[in-house]
Subunit: 222 residues, 2 copies
């Protein structure tokens, strides 16, 4: 199985602009990528980062065994065509997994569940109807990440007569896109992303209802 | 194993007040409870609803096999003491599971994963640091649902020298408390709760980023 991790190198995480500066968002996005790559490697796979622009290896500062297992390809196309160019085209092509680069809570166990189904297509949905993890073993399936991609991908699998499995994982459902997602990193994260948030001054704050992440010296972020 | 489902019968779902009237919230909360009870019964357990006030069985309209397996106890104490009064007190007491009544996406499979661990304490975390599902097999563990209960429950288990397992489930992590949660019911729900939301006029709307749930004739709800 090939594992592809698409990465938007140049304008990362714009929906966090209300709480992080542009250089902070860039560093934060690279931490999340590094955490995802480490989880993929610990799940015994060799990830390929498909980046919209060249990546500085020093910025990623991957542990040696993760760096040794990781390759980088540059592809400046949007997400959907960049992914589709890498999906299986013939019955006997290698299966392909696509793992989003902002799954800061991904663990080797959760990824192994995604990678190990017997289905033609396996999807780990994200919150809000997204597709955070995808495994394709069927040559007629093509991705469409625009909009309600989880529902669209189910429909595309059905139309291709491909068997489908959905992976029920909170860790894989938690893509970190918006300020309200940061609390999950502080509660459940164990990698560099959580360390970075704490270094930025974020901490948990009790409020009515769910916990929130707040930044020292700032207004509440969600 | 005893399965307890606490239910706030009188003032349900106040954080949905911006999008649902009080009678609507009451009906919606009962639909979620009915969906949870059905999933528990399909997971081969007999749930006990611990309700803050008497429940009208007709309001719940449970299928016959669900109604036959379900009992109701009235307990007007707050959540934490009402739960703690039902946890195991001695080594050989029956284990107890506590499942929140607003897990509209709960499936028998997800609940079976929670119920079947070998740990002294098992937790299915909710978004924002909550505890959506809890299994207690250790006589020294007591619950504390106030605030960051997932982190507190981990700490309490450690202090009691109880082994701990965390259940990674998006379905169990999704308690439906706030308007932004409704989209998950529309995307993933298959029970009465999803039917009710559609009958109320909610539908999926594409926006930038995640899908949103909007109500016909209303402003955007999240």
């Amino acid at each position: 199985m090939r594992v592809v991790v698409p990465f938007a190198a140049e304008t990362p995480k714009t929906r966090l602009a209300s709480v992080l500066t542009e250089p902070e968002r860039s560093a934060f996005a690279r931490d999340m990528l590094a955490d995802v790559l480490r989880a993929v490697v610990e799940a015994k796979r060799e990830p390929t980062v498909v980046s919209t622009a060249p990546l500085d290896a020093a910025d990623l500062a991957l542990p040696d065994e993760v760096a040794a297992a990781t390759s980088v390809e540059i592809d400046d196309r949007p997400l959907t065509p960049a992914v589709n160019a890498r999906l299986p085209e013939r019955e006997d092509d290698e299966s392909v997994a696509v793992v989003m680069a902002d799954l800061a809570l991904a663990t080797p166990d959760a990824l192994a569940d995604l990678f190990s189904t017997a289905a033609d297509v396996a999807i780990a949905p994200g919150r809000g109807g997204g597709t955070n993890g995808l495994v394709v073993r069927h040559p007629d399936f093509r991705a469409d990440y625009h909009g309600a991609s989880y529902l669209d991908h189910r429909e595309i699998a059905r139309a291709a007569d491909a068997s489908l499995e959905t992976i029920d994982s909170f860790r894989l459902a938690t893509d970190v896109d918006e300020p309200s997602d940061l609390v999950e990193v502080l509660v459940h994260g164990t990698g560099r992303t959580a360390d970075r948030l704490r270094a930025f001054g974020f901490e948990l704050e009790r409020a009515t209802g769910r916990l929130q992440a707040t930044r020292a010296g700032s207004d509440r972020t969600d």
